[in-house]
């Protein structure tokens, strides 16, 4: 693996702004992006990703690759939490294991768009329908996580409410960030199919502004990650190791699945990044709501404090090397 792609990745504005944010915490600068500004950018990014994704899906139509890829994506988000759960159970109770595992089965939209930016800067093509995979991978892991709690947890959860299937579906599909992404995707699709002039009118907002808003959001994410990281110490070295090992492990599985699906290098990277990234929006929110026994500082600090920065700064170029190595191998 050459050093070049890592350096090139680090020198892109979004990653640089992320580092600026993190360094500001390190140096105890009082730079601060007060609430609810991060929420504004987070909502904006979800809306824009969804909208543009919906347009792309409508435009590209359902090619041969779409269905297998989307199915594999869902499958991965069902399998990863199971593996993660088994690993985590060595050290943690059912509640914490399920909640953390679910986070790693789900995805991080900002990691995904960072990968897209990386591909664009490397001039590697990828398909718009991959946003569909992003959208479809958010919820299944939540369902798996909650089912794990439902069936693996002691029958008598003293502090908890009963968890009906309807509540599980509600949390996994109507969670604010899942809902906004999915529904914006539908809006984009409908706009592209029945109102194409609307695309151009949205473009300055959802398209042109996107990169800059991503940078601004990553500046805040850098601050948040660097504030979260020290709290991981309390969680112990097992969890710290997990937060680095798990994305690498998932990437490794992901790249072979991508190869099996004969995805091109661009789509492969995005697929791998979806597998490797962990959720800090949808899953934590859903887990906080339904599994109060799990410590939110565990699942949010791992994903936000370690896995996210790792993926953004080092992971993406590492996964690209992995893709470039594995995908072109002679057929299995």
């Amino acid at each position: 693996m050459e050093i070049n792609p890592i350096l090139q990745n680090v020198l892109a504005p979004p990653v640089l702004f992320f580092l600026i944010g993190a360094i500001s915490v390190l140096f105890k600068s009082d730079l601060e992006i007060p609430a609810p500004l991060p929420k504004l950018f987070s909502l904006y990014l979800l809306l824009a990703i969804g909208f543009k994704g919906g347009i792309e899906i409508q435009k590209s139509g359902f090619t041969d690759q779409v269905l297998p890829t989307l199915s594999a994506a869902i499958l991965m988000s069902l399998v990863i939490p199971l593996i993660g759960f088994l690993i985590l159970r060595f050290k943690f109770d059912v509640f914490n294991s399920a909640a953390i595992a679910a986070a790693y089965g789900s995805i991080s939209a900002v990691t995904f768009i960072s990968a897209e930016s990386f591909l664009e800067s490397q001039k590697i093509a990828f398909d718009g329908f991959m946003v569909g995979a992003l959208a479809l991978m958010e919820s299944p892991a939540i369902i798996v996580g909650l089912l794990l709690v439902k069936f693996a947890a002691p029958q008598n959860r003293p502090k908890s409410r009963k968890m009906h299937l309807s509540a599980i579906l509600h949390e996994s599909l109507l969670n604010g960030s899942v809902y906004l992404l999915l529904s914006s995707l539908i809006v984009g699709f409908l706009t592209a199919s029945s109102n194409p002039s609307g695309i151009a009118k949205m473009e300055p907002f959802t398209g042109q502004l996107f990169y800059g808003a991503e940078c601004f959001f990553l500046l805040d994410m850098g601050i948040v990650a660097a504030q979260r990281l020290p709290r991981l110490k309390n969680a112990g070295s097992f969890l710290i190791g997990f937060a680095i090992f798990m994305p690498l492990f998932n990437a490794f599985i992901g790249v072979f699945v991508a190869r099996f699906l004969s995805l091109g290098p661009g789509n492969s990277l995005l697929f791998v990044v979806l597998c490797a990234s962990a959720s800090y929006l949808a899953v934590p929110a859903a887990m906080r709501m339904t599994v109060p026994e799990a410590k939110s500082s565990y699942y949010i600090s791992t994903t936000l404090g370690l896995t996210f920065p790792f993926n953004i700064v080092l992971g993406i170029p590492i996964y690209m090397s992995l893709v470039n190595t594995i995908i072109p191998l002679s057929p299995l």
Partner: protein, 93 residues
Amino acid sequence: MKRLDLIFSERELDAIIKTLEKANVPGYTVMKHATGRGPERVVTEDMEFTGLGSNAHVIVFCEQELIDKMRDNIRDDLSYYGGVAYISEATPL
């Protein structure tokens, strides 16, 4: 007259307000965006954008008997996510 201070995760706000309304409190005030630490959990500002939710601080001025009526329900609500509830004396101006 009493003053009841409730501090808890804003995700529990609807449940708490339902409890208050069921007891027919004369009114209540809600302040969101509170952070803090309790015996078990730390609540920080970044929990707002992630959807985890920060804390709400609810103040209720009401008679002792209403508080007695609500006590069990509130304790129940707070036992789920955590949170604190304190009573103090208050006199209307």
